[in-house]
């Protein structure tokens, strides 16, 4: 079963590569996605034991990430069919293949319990995403791709060094090095502190740059801004979560290795998290390009994840939940922003006005997405964010909580001042007409995602909650 998680998308990619017709090819996406979704649902529901000498195992953390990725991909896949109808001018072969390969890689990330293998998978995801960012094939997109590629590669290289340090710390401790998570957790107690320390730092910086923690986030606005909406969604909801999963693994090791290392790691996480939120807050105000604004919003939420993880205790639950919510909400926002881009042929807020009038459904969804992502009830991001804030207060981390709220306010103001003029008002009459119209396939998928976060925000299904609690338990929270 676990292997299927990786193989199915690869086969799909193969098929997509073989299908000659540009119109038929996108249909592969929903087929694979649906199959993948059913598969991962079965896996998530069923208790699993480690396989292949502990190399592959879908533990609760993996399950959470897999759930998010699989749902998000399905949404994007169905959307893609509708979206690519409007992009017939260029071949979508690379796009389809890239998406599917990326899906396979992400699946591998969630199931691999061997950090080295996980590293390979993460690297694979970033490499496979590069061509997708370049989908528009113009000067700006090539620049974005180049920056994305180089920064992520450097980061991931540092992560590799971190892994080597980790292995070396085991080696120094007792002569046989290992990168198996189970093994590491077993011996974490007597690891060599110095090397472990270095390892943690390098891993954090490496995966952090992939995840987009400030100040390692520099590639994000460019990549998100130039990539097509659906690719942006996968970047913000898929890759970010994979990188975060990797950081969760590091957290597990720190947890097992004892309080000192954990404390340091948590402090660093909170610090970088706050920095990320602050950065996002500053850059989101008066943002003239709504896709870049979404990118900074993603930076902000990565920061929230980091803070949640850094605060520990009850906040861990919030962080894990936020991982899910952020992914889905970003899906809504990026997909609808793709529609807006199609319809106006521009993504600057000078041009884009009165979306609610021009595209009622897309506009409404975008507005709802904005309200959701800024942590307003009844959508689920509110639940996770409030869990984090309140536990910060409960733990007496008042400064963190205050800054957190301050940044939330600034972000909200900045985002509102960008989004509301876009959505409200009358569309400018001098924009050249485009053939885009709201259709079932371009509006339905984001609508589904929105419905999901609404359900999660009001009455989340029991299995999700159980999953989150199990995940938090893995991170050392006594249920």
């Amino acid at each position: 079963m676990l292997y299927a998680l990786v193989l199915v998308p690869l086969i799909g990619a193969l098929v997509a590569g073989l299908v000659p017709d540009n119109r038929m090819r996108p249909l592969v996406l929903p087929v694979v996605a649906t199959f993948h979704l059913c598969l991962s649902m079965i896996l998530i529901m069923s208790p699993l034991a480690p396989t292949a000498g502990g190399w592959f195992w879908l533990d609760p953390l993996g399950k959470i990430v897999l759930l998010c990725i699989s749902i998000l991909f399905t949404v994007c896949a169905y959307y893609g069919v509708g979206y690519l109808r409007y992009r017939q001018e260029r071949s979508n072969r690379v796009l389809c293949i890239g998406l599917l390969v990326c899906l396979a890689a992400m699946g591998l990330v969630t199931v691999s319990q061997h950090l080295g293998l996980m590293w390979v998978a993460v690297e694979a995801t970033s490499v496979s995403m590069a061509p997708l960012i370049y989908f528009n094939k113009n000067a700006r997109s090539i620049e974005a791709t180049w920056k994305y590629l180089l920064i992520c590669s450097v980061g991931i290289a540092l992560a590799l060094l971190g892994l080597l340090f980790l292995a070396y710390s085991t080696y120094v401790a007792h002569q046989d090095a290992t990168l198996l998570l189970s093994g590491l957790l077993g011996v974490a107690g007597e690891l060599n502190p110095g090397w472990l320390h270095a390892a943690v730092i390098f891993l954090l910086v490496g995966y952090g740059s992939k995840m987009g923690l400030a100040p390692l986030h520099t590639w994000k606005p460019d990549a998100y801004g130039e990539a097509p909406g659906m690719v942006g969604a996968m970047l913000a909801g898929g890759l970010v979560n994979c990188a975060f999963l990797a950081i969760l693994r590091v957290y597990q090791i720190c947890l097992a290795s004892g309080s000192a290392e954990l404390l340091f790691f948590q402090q660093v996480l909170v610090g970088m998290g706050l920095i990320s939120m602050g950065f996002a807050a500053v850059f989101m105000a008066r943002q003239a390009d709504f896709k870049r604004m979404l990118a900074y919003s993603s930076v902000e939420h990565v920061g929230i994840l980091a803070i949640g993880l850094g605060l520990g205790k009850g906040a861990l639950f919030g962080a894990l939940f936020h991982l899910l919510n952020n992914g889905l909400t970003k899906g809504v926002l990026f997909l609808t922003s793709g529609n807006i881009h199609r319809s106006y042929g521009s993504k600057t807020t000078e041009v884009v006005k009165g979306v609610l009038t021009r595209l009622p459904w897309t506009g409404g969804l975008f507005m709802a997405g904005f309200i959701a992502i800024t942590g307003s009830p009844p959508f689920s991001p509110f639940i996770s964010e409030y869990t984090i804030v309140s536990s910060a207060f409960i733990e007496g981390r008042y400064l963190v909580a205050a800054l957190f709220l301050l940044f939330l306010v600034i972000v909200f103001i900045g985002m509102a001042l960008t989004v509301l003029p876009m959505v409200m008002g009358a569309p400018p009459d001098n924009i050249e007409p485009t053939d885009y119209r709201d259709g079932l396939l371009t509006v339905g998928p984001p609508l589904v995602a929105l419905a999901l976060i609404l359900v999660l925000g009001i009455w989340p299904p029991a299995f999700v909650m159980r999953l989150l609690h199990d995940g938090a338990a893995l991170l050392g929270v006594q249920p």
């Binding site: 390098f202 340091f264 105000a285 509110f382 207060f393 509102a416």
Partner: protein
């Protein structure tokens, strides 16, 4: 009554009905039908709600429901107590009236967005009910934000208009920032009492370290929503630009939710810090005076009403402040009178302010304008509206024999009692302040009524005005009758709020009876009826005389001037000019006049007068622009040079390495 389920269930059912009342309008093919369904459901829900309210007032205790939702915030309790009941009384009444009113004010066949509006209207009302019933911090927050957001979507109904956009944005930013303060409030509360469930009343000690922060957060979060100065700046614009029936609900009901929040939060504590009562008293007085002074300076009918909402909220807070001061100087009369005054005024304001806003809707419907100075002589063409509006105006000025007087009477009695008994009767100064506010209110509403309804039409639009539809008149009539009853039978009001007063004041015994020793409820009824009788008698006599005597008609005496035109009438702005100058410091309207260097102003020169919004225009906007300017420097970090980006990575690595050691 026995046929009904127990109150809480009733209220929940009503809320549910309201919440989904708008759905058919969105789904059905004919929106008009949907709107009618929505209206009927809403009215039914309101009746259901009111019946539940009366059960509660009759003494039936509402059940408490604990639903254990899967969210990690503990069980969510929903229950109703006397404080909630107090706010539910006007809520359902106004909601029902507004639902009827909207049928002919915002008909689906003319307005494309009627479906959306109706839907959010129902959601808005339901959210407010939930706010009043929630006993769990997070549930409360969710209901609260739902209320705030649906209010946003309601007031941006005409989102094509740029002004509507602007005020909508200001409203949204303000309310969300306020919600952040509530985040702090409930998180701290959770940290203090160990659960998101509200603590039982009068259990928290004020000695707790968090107490002060809790109260301040509540003041910011809830005070902002209530429109307490200086957090009032969002209010005039929002109320003025929303559809009138929405303004009626926002002003008559939503502002009260802020009051409710502060009352609820303060009720957690055994004793309250001394500064709180005085602070509320001062803020209330400031809001009252400044609010009504602002109102007097307005030229926009609905902005004027909105500003007078600030005034009335101020009066309510004066009452609460008096009560708290009374509690800590243990002056029971002051406490009781303050609470009675505040609570009665909460109900009254719900009635007459909604009445006035609905009336303003009728005016806009009839004349197509909000400019006071462009109207005039409307009474001739809108007789019914003019009569109902007059009742509202008299009531809001607190003049007998209408309900507005009752609440203020209690406040006066409380204050002057303090003047008699307290060693240093600072609280007694509330009385002259109230008197000043009353005087200003008379100026404001004489201006409003006289300039709009009386005289001769200043514009063709005013001349061509037409009476509002039957449903609109009906809805207003209900509220007006409410005002009359409240004024003629103050005892009814006293009985309505007595449970809430004893609940909050923690006192026991039949307050309604005790208070009658302090405050003349029965003589008031007697004198009011005498007044009405006298008026009727005099009118009868006068009309008889007129019948007998010759009477002729002619033009108004122009004091010797032969060709007066309607444009020569005194305008609203000039009417209030004197008082606006007296309160220039608080109001500071913008005036642009041509330089008078010769005998006459140069041809084509114009005089411009506009009411200012001090906090927003002269404080917040500059701050925002300054921050934006500061941010633009930090943005240079994203300069697009790849090699420096790589340097960032290594720098981070380096810093962390250093930090590690």
């Amino acid at each position: 009554m026995t046929l009904l389920p127990e109150p809480t269930a009733c209220l929940l059912l009503a809320a549910g009905l309201l919440a989904f009342s708008g759905l058919p309008g969105l789904l059905l093919r004919q929106p008009a039908a949907g709107q009618w369904i929505a209206a009927f459901v809403a009215v039914f829900a309101s009746l259901l709600g009111e019946s539940a309210v009366f059960q509660l007032l009759a003494g039936t205790a509402g059940a408490a429901y604990q639903l254990d939702w899967p969210l990690p915030f503990g069980p969510a309790e929903i229950s109703v107590d006397h404080l909630s009941t107090l706010f539910l009384i006007p809520l359902f009444l106004v909601t029902g009236c507004v639902a009827l009113y909207s049928l002919s004010y915002w008909p689906a066949r003319d307005k494309s967005n009627a479906g959306r509006l109706t839907f959010f209207l129902g959601l808005f009302a339901a959210a407010m009910v939930l706010v009043l019933l929630a006993r769990n911090g997070v549930l409360f927050l969710m209901a609260w934000e739902l209320m705030a957001l649906s209010a946003y979507f309601l007031l941006t109904a005409e989102q094509q208009d740029s002004e509507v956009q602007r005020v909508g944005t200001v409203y949204l930013l303000t309310t969300h920032t306020g919600t952040m303060a509530l985040f702090v409030l409930f998180a701290l509360l959770r940290g203090t009492v160990g659960s998101f469930l509200f603590p039982p009343t009068h259990t928290l000690s004020v000695a707790l370290p968090a107490a002060t922060v809790l109260l301040v957060a509540a003041l910011i979060g809830f005070g902002g929503k209530a429109g307490l100065m200086p957090l009032h700046f969002w209010l005039p614009g929002a109320h003025a630009n929303a559809p009138s029936h929405v303004s009626a609900m926002m002003s008559g009901l939503m502002l009260k939710m802020g009051v409710y929040g502060i009352l609820r939060t303060s009720s957690f504590f055994t004793t309250l810090p001394p500064w709180l009562g005085w602070l509320l008293l001062v803020l209330g007085a400031w809001s009252a005076v400044n609010g009504i002074a602002l109102a007097a300076s307005q030229r926009d009918l609905k902005r004027l009403l909105a500003c007078s909402s600030i005034e009335n909220i101020g009066i309510i807070f004066i009452g609460i402040g008096l009560a708290l001061v009374g509690m800590q100087t243990n002056a029971p009369i002051l406490t009781t009178c303050g609470l009675f005054g505040a609570f009665i005024h909460i109900i009254n304001h719900g009635l007459f302010k909604s009445l006035l806003f609905l009336g303003s809707g009728a005016l806009i419907h009839g004349t197509g304008s909000r400019e006071i100075d462009r109207m005039g002589g409307v009474a001739k063409r809108m007789p019914a509206t003019s009569l109902l509006f007059l009742i509202g105006a008299l009531a809001i000025c607190g003049l007998p024999p209408l309900n507005g007087f009752v609440g203020e009477l209690f406040l006066y009695v409380g204050a002057i009692n303090d003047g008699i008994n307290a060693p240093l009767p600072l609280a007694a100064l509330a009385a002259p302040v109230l008197a000043l506010v009353g005087g200003l209110a008379v100026i404001t509403f004489v201006k409003l009524y006289g300039m709009i309804f009386l005289g001769s039409p200043r514009t063709a639009a005013a001349a061509g005005s037409h009476e509002a539809g039957g449903l609109m008149i009906g809805a207003m009539l209900v509220l007006a009758v409410g005002c009359l009853i409240g004024g003629m039978a103050p005892l009814l009001l006293v009985k309505l709020v007595a449970p809430a007063v004893s609940w909050y004041g923690g006192s026991n015994g039949d307050l309604a009876h005790q208070i009658r020793q302090q405050v003349p409820v029965m003589p008031l009824t007697a004198l009011n009826s005498l007044l009405v009788a006298l008026i009727l008698a005099l009118s009868a006599g006068y009309l008889l005389r007129l019948r007998k005597l010759p009477s002729s008609t002619g033009p108004t005496w122009g004091c010797g001037y032969l060709a007066p035109t309607p444009r020569m009438q005194y305008t609203g702005s000039s009417f209030s000019e004197m008082v606006v100058n007296l309160f220039g410091a608080l109001v500071a309207p913008l005036r642009r006049r041509p330089a008078l260097d010769m005998l006459f102003p140069p041809v084509g020169s114009s005089f411009c007068y506009a009411a200012a919004e001090l906090v927003l225009d002269r404080v917040l906007t500059p701050i925002f622009s300054w921050i934006g300017w500061a941010f633009s420097y930090i943005r240079r970090l994203q300069h697009g040079q790849l090699h420096i980006y790589v340097l960032y990575i290594f720098a981070t690595l380096f810093v962390l390495m250093i930090w590690a050691h």
